[in-house]
Structure formats: structure tokens, C-alpha cells
């Protein structure tokens, strides 16, 4: 992005304007473009897709009225929520209560600065990309805690406290899982990490060594917990805490929390793709435009696959209890992620140039696990009973 703006300046498009002003305009334009052409439709369509996927898994129909297959349902929901009364309880903190949704939203939106869409499509390729990403996602917890406390509602407070404890705890395994990849890549830039991998699965960091393989699952689990998704959705557990920290919110402010949650699903998938799944890497095709489009499609599909997995997990699993959540993190995931970091470091000492045999072996192992998994899924689908419709005299 910066290179693109620099080239425009050099070509003389902005003569007479200070460079800083041009940069500022470019930043605002980029933020606008990313928000309105990618993030908003993405979060909306994800909300629709989640409801449809859930409905299928639960033998329901789901929203199918607005637009073909109900795909515009998110627009209808957005308009509905905009028109609703924006209620601020009299006992709520008048400053923090309205502010909290924006903090959550900013924490989520800022991650898109370093998430690439292709080899040239990135807002800013920061040298500290991944560190920046971990840092801005931590802002979300501030927003949630603000929402929980300022609502002046005991359920909200419990939800906010749970969320704070949960997100802070799960940052550690997520951060350590990321650290082992930073060791391998030698850079924190997102583009740099992707460039160090190849298009072939055995060139991905996922299959680099056994420790990164574990680190991937650690990262994904921890990211689900950070995103407040089932089975870790205890901060907004509707059967326990009514609606957790969003209990008192209504209208668009309420929607902002869920906007961030659904958008955050894509961020989880995108970071997993950057770190472990080779990012936008595609085989060389030659043509620049086709390659660019292909890169975008490949990256998007890899990232969105994990959105689907998160939906699937949410439709399947019950919720863990808050002490079990903490035990899982501190007793199992943190030691395991330390093991991954040390293991990856040791692996780099033993095999300074990587081990191709190990990569291919890990790849075969991954395929075998996947096949076993889908075999099990096939068994469940074949043995599942559809609805029995007896047609009484209606």
C-alpha cells in the first residue's frame, strides 16, 4: 500500500500536497475500502451462512426469505437494528457504555491492516505484523470489560469478568504457538512469513515439523477461545448469564459486538492461513492479473474453511465450565505450547535447512487424520435419521 502511494507521488499525481496529507488520505481511503467492501459484507454474509449452516445441522430451514436463499438477511437485520431505539440504561455509565462497542469493533477492524489479500494486496506490510495483530486483538478485551462493567448489570459484570480472564489466559498459548512460527520464518511480517512457505502443502509451516503441527491446533483452539466461540463462549453463555456483557445493549450497539464476533471468525482463519497454511501462495502462472486473483481466491478459501469449521464446532459441542476452561488453558495448553516453542527451536538446531522427509511424512499423517475424520463424519451422516413426517389429518 505504501509502495503504491509512493509510486503515485513519484508519478506526480499529488504535486503541491504535503506527503503526510497524501498518506493520511490514503489511510482513510484504505480503511473505508476495507471496511465497506470487504469486512462489512463478510461479517454479514458470515452471519447469514452461520444461521443457514446451523439450520441444516439442526434440521431446520433458517433464514431464506430476503434475497435468493436469504443471502441478504444480514442487510435486513442491519437496517432493523439501525432503526431500533438505542437504549442507554439510566444507571449505566453514560460515557463508557456507548463507547464500549466501538472499542471492541476497533480492536477487530485494526487487524485488517496486516492481513493480506494477495502478494501485493495488503494495507500495510508492517515489520512487526504478527506482534501488531496480537496487540490490537487484545484491545477487544478492554471493550468487553468496559461493556460488562458500565452496564451496571450483574450478569453483564459476570460476563465481562469471565471474558477478561478467558481472553488474557488464552493469549498465552496463542502467542506461544505464533512464536514457534516466528522462529521458523525469522520475521514477524505477515507477507514475510507467507513468502517463506510454498504453495505445496509440504512446504507449509503446518507440516514443517511435529511441533508446528501441534502448534496449529493449539492456535486454533486458543483463537476460538479468544473469539468467545463455542465451546468457549462462556462470557455470553445465554443459558447461564442471560446474554453476558451484551445484556443491556440494543440496536446498532448490540449489533457491533456481533459484527466484531462474526468478522473475527475470518480473522482467526486468516491468521491460521498466514502462519500455517501457506497464505496466498499459488503455483506460478505467469500472468500477473490471473495470479493476483488466484492468490486472493486461495487465501480467502483457506481462511473461510476455518470459519466453517468454527460454525460446525459451535453446532456440535456443549460449553465448558469456567474452571474447566481455565484448567484447559493453564494445565494443558500453556505447557504444550511451551513444548512446541522449545521443540521447534531444537528442530531448527538439528535440521538447520528443514527436513523434507519429515514434512512429507507429516503431510501424509495429516491426510490420514483427515480421512479418518471424514470417514467418521460419513458414518454419522449415513446413520443419522431424517425427520419422520406422518402427515396427520391437517
Amino acid at each position: 500500500m505504501q509502495a503504491f502511494v509512493d509510486s503515485l507521488i513519484q508519478q506526480g499525481y499529488f504535486t503541491g500536497m504535503p506527503t503526510q496529507v497524501v498518506y493520511a488520505i490514503a489511510m482513510i481511503a484504505a480503511a473505508f475500502a476495507v471496511l465497506s467492501f470487504f469486512v462489512a459484507p463478510l461479517a454479514g454474509v458470515t452471519s447469514w451462512l452461520e444461521r443457514r449452516v446451523w439450520a441444516r445441522m439442526q434440521s431446520r430451514v433458517g433464514p431464506n426469505r430476503v434475497g435468493p436463499q436469504g443471502i441478504l438477511q444480514w442487510l435486513a437485520d442491519g437496517i432493523k437494528n439501525l432503526l431500533k431505539e438505542d437504549l442507554i440504561p439510566a444507571a449505566a455509565d453514560q460515557l463508557l457504555f456507548p463507547l464500549a462497542p466501538y472499542i471492541v469493533f476497533i480492536g477487530f477492524l485494526c487487524t485488517f491492516v496486516v492481513i493480506p489479500f494477495g502478494s501485493n494486496l495488503i494495507v500495510a506490510d508492517l515489520d512487526i505484523g504478527i506482534l501488531y495483530l496480537l496487540a490490537v486483538t487484545s484491545i477487544v478485551v478492554v471493550g468487553i470489560l468496559m461493556a460488562g462493567w458500565s452496564s451496571n448489570n450483574k450478569w453483564s459484570l459476570l460476563g465481562g469478568m469471565r471474558s477478561a480472564a478467558q481472553i488474557v489466559s488464552y493469549e498465552i498459548p496463542a502467542g506461544l504457538a505464533v512464536l514457534s512460527i516466528i522462529f521458523l520464518a525469522g520475521t514477524m511480517s505477515t507477507q514475510g512469513i507467507i513468502k517463506n512457505q510454498g504453495w505445496a502443502p509440504w512446504d507449509w509451516y503446518l507440516f514443517n515439523n511435529p511441533f508446528t503441527f501441534i502448534a496449529f491446533f493449539l492456535y486454533f483452539t486458543a483463537a476460538l477461545a479468544e473469539g468467545n466461540r463455542t465451546p468457549f463462549d462462556i462470557p455470553e453463555a445465554e443459558s447461564e448469564l442471560v446474554a453476558g456483557y451484551v445484556t443491556e445493549y440494543s440496536g446498532m450497539r448490540f449489533l457491533f459486538f456481533f459484527f466484531a464476533e462474526w468478522g473475527n471468525l475470518y480473522v482467526i482463519g486468516a491468521v491460521a492461513t498466514i502462519l500455517f497454511l501457506g497464505g496466498w501462495q499459488v503455483p506460478a502462472v505467469g500472468d500477473g492479473l490471473i495470479e493476483g486473483v488466484l492468490q486472493f481466491v486461495v487465501f480467502f478459501l483457506k481462511a473461510y474453511l476455518w470459519v466453517f469449521v468454527a460454525m460446525w464446532v459451535r453446532a456440535t459441542l456443549p460449553r465448558v465450565r469456567v474452571d474447566q476452561l481455565m484448567a484447559l488453558c493453564w494445565k494443558y495448553m500453556v505447557p504444550l505450547s511451551f513444548l512446541c516453542v522449545i521443540g521447534t527451536a531444537a528442530w531448527m538446531v538439528v535440521f538447520p535447512h528443514g527436513n523434507r522427509w519429515a514434512s512429507v511424512g507429516m503431510f501424509v499423517l495429516g491426510v490420514v487424520i483427515l480421512l479418518l475424520f471424514f470417514g467418521r463424519v460419513r458414518y454419522q451422516i449415513r446413520h443419522s435419521k431424517p425427520e419422520l413426517y406422518l402427515r396427520p389429518y391437517i
Binding site: W54, M57, Q58, S59, R60, K154, W155, L158, M161, R162, T230, P231, D233, I234, A237, E238, S239, E240, L241, V242, A315, T316, L317, P318, R319, V320, R321, V322, D323, Q324, Q380, H383, S384, K385, E387, L388, Y389, L390, P392, Y393
Partner: protein
Amino acid sequence: MSEAVYPQSEVFHTEDMTISVGPQHPSTHGVLRFVVRTDGEVIGEAIPDVGYLHRSIEKIGEKCTYHGYVPYTDRADYLAAMFANQGFCMAAEKLAATEVTRRGEFCRVIACELNRIASHLISVGTFGQDIGAITPFLHALRERETINDLMEEICGARLTYNYIRIGGVGYDITQETCDKILTFLDHFDPIVDEYNRLLSYNKIYIERLANVAVITKEEAFQYNLVGPNLRASGIKWDIRRDIPYSVYPELDFEVPVGHGEKGTLGDCYDRYWVRMQELQESSKIVRQCLKMMPKGPAISKVPRKFKPPAGEVYVRVEAPRGDMGYYVVSDGSEYPYRVRIRTGSFTAMGIIDKLSRGIMVADLIALIASLDVDAPEIDR
């Protein structure tokens, strides 16, 4: 008042928080209310506050004729209306020494056991939902919907049936309906396995329920628990088996009891698991009844002006939430002098305060769900 679970620090002073759970809380199964005193996530005490769904059904009984009161009994427990019907009709029949036709008895048992399946499906489904698994709930409701269709075919109503009348049942079950019930049971039996694969054997689910809110045998007796809650504590007590009524002595069925399946005897998982097994037992009973059903009238001749002689009776039926008792006093007139209904959920509410001390907020929800308390049945 239990002691605070964590030691109080002199530097950081903490206070207990009083929260009102309900009556609009999503997982209180209707309109229950608990006044919960918590230390953060850990509950100090949870005091049940009942009475939000009181409709004076017992008092209405004194103003209705015996025939006219049957539809009101439906409302005593609308998830298992058939049993409330049956309890009152049995009480009236006992007062007046009315015979029930044999086909009528079989129709009653078929309808009741189908209703038990429907009620237990709600119970285990909402259990899953309270723990956070939403899919099993909808799968359970899907099957219950089919039972509702069958009920509609049997008696024309889907929820409040008014099917069992004094002297028999309102409508005979036709052969066509019998075939449909059999089709449903053939479909339903594998569903239980599917449900087990999806929910019962789920590691997270077991972790959430095993060893939580354990009710020992002695406590179950002391707090007068009934039905699946009592059996989950390892006590083999079932009115259908021990104080037999209707045609149950002729039928072959097991009484499932808790064995500490995944944890301690009498924990939440045992209460869940007993209900899952009762689903299969009820299916077995309905199959036997369909085979054994004799020909004949479904209802015996009962005078329209039903005037039982003066006296009092107490009859018990085994409802999905346990022993449901009807105490009916007759003064020889058309109207009952007094009707008193004893329900399982009301006594189950009593033990919640004792069990909730020292458990977490999430466990309280699991405990309420595992006792399968039903708001209309508590207050009546």
C-alpha cells in the same frame, strides 16, 4: 448460610453478590426464580422462589363437576398432561368404583407412555441446551413434534389433551393410528443411539455433569424426591412397578436406576442417563401394548351426573417427573369437596438450596435442568 469458599483477605475486601436468577432467565424452564448469593462464580446459596405460575387449579376443582375438571388437570403439567388426566380420573373412578374398559386401559397406557417420551425428550433436550449444545435440543424437539402429530391424531390436541375421561378414554385409537405409532417407534429407537453419539458420550458434556450436585440415597429420601431423580440416586422405586395400576403388571419393562455411570452415584449425569434409558423403556411398553390391545369399547358407561359417594381417596401415578398424587374428597355431591395435587417438581425444588452451596453458577443451571423441574407443575 455457608462460609465463603475463598479465604477473605484483609487487603482486598470482597463482598457477596446477590443475583436474581429468573423469572425471565432463559434457562429456568418457565418462570422459576432463585435468589442467588454468589462469591464471584461460586454460589453461597440459591433460594428458590416459587409461585409465579400459580393458577389455583386445586381451588378450581371445588367449583367444577368431576367431568368438567379433567381439562383443568391438563394444565397442572402441560408437558405431561396425560398423567394429570389419568391421576384425576383414577381418583374419581376409585371414589365411585367405576370400571374402566380393558381397551380403555391400553389406550391410556399407550397415550401416557408416548407422552412420557415427549416429556423426557424436552427434558434431555433442554438439558443439552442449558449446557450449551443447541443441536440436540432441536433434534429432540423434532421427534417430539412427531409425537404431537400422533397425539393430534389420537385425541385432537397437541399439548393439553383432555383424552383420558372417567371410565376410559375419550376416543378409541384406530388401527391406522396404531400403525403410525409403530412406524414412529421404529424410527425413534435408533434416534436414541444418535442422540447418545451426539450428546451423551460427548467428553465436554460428561465433564460438565459427572460428579456435579450429587444426591445421596439418604438425601433423596429425606428431601422426598420422586421419579427419575430418586431412581438416579440408586433407589429402584417406580409406582408402575411397586404400586401397580392400570395394566402395568401385565407389561414387561425395566426400571432404570443410576449406577454412577460416569462419576458418582446420584450426580447430574445419572439423572440424565436414567431419563435416556426410560425413553427406550417407554418405547418398549408402547410396543407391547399395541400387540396386546384387545377389541371392545374404549369407555364404560358413566352417568353424565357423576356423583361419587362421600369419601376420600389418594391415588398415585408415575408421571415423567415422578410420583403424581391426587387426593380427592367427595361429599356425595356433583362437585369434589377438595382436590389436592402432589407433584414431583415441587419437592425437587426443595433440594436445590442444599445442593447449590459451593457449586458454580453454570452448575446451578445444570442442577435445575437435571432435576427436570417444570414451572407449571410446581405451582399448579
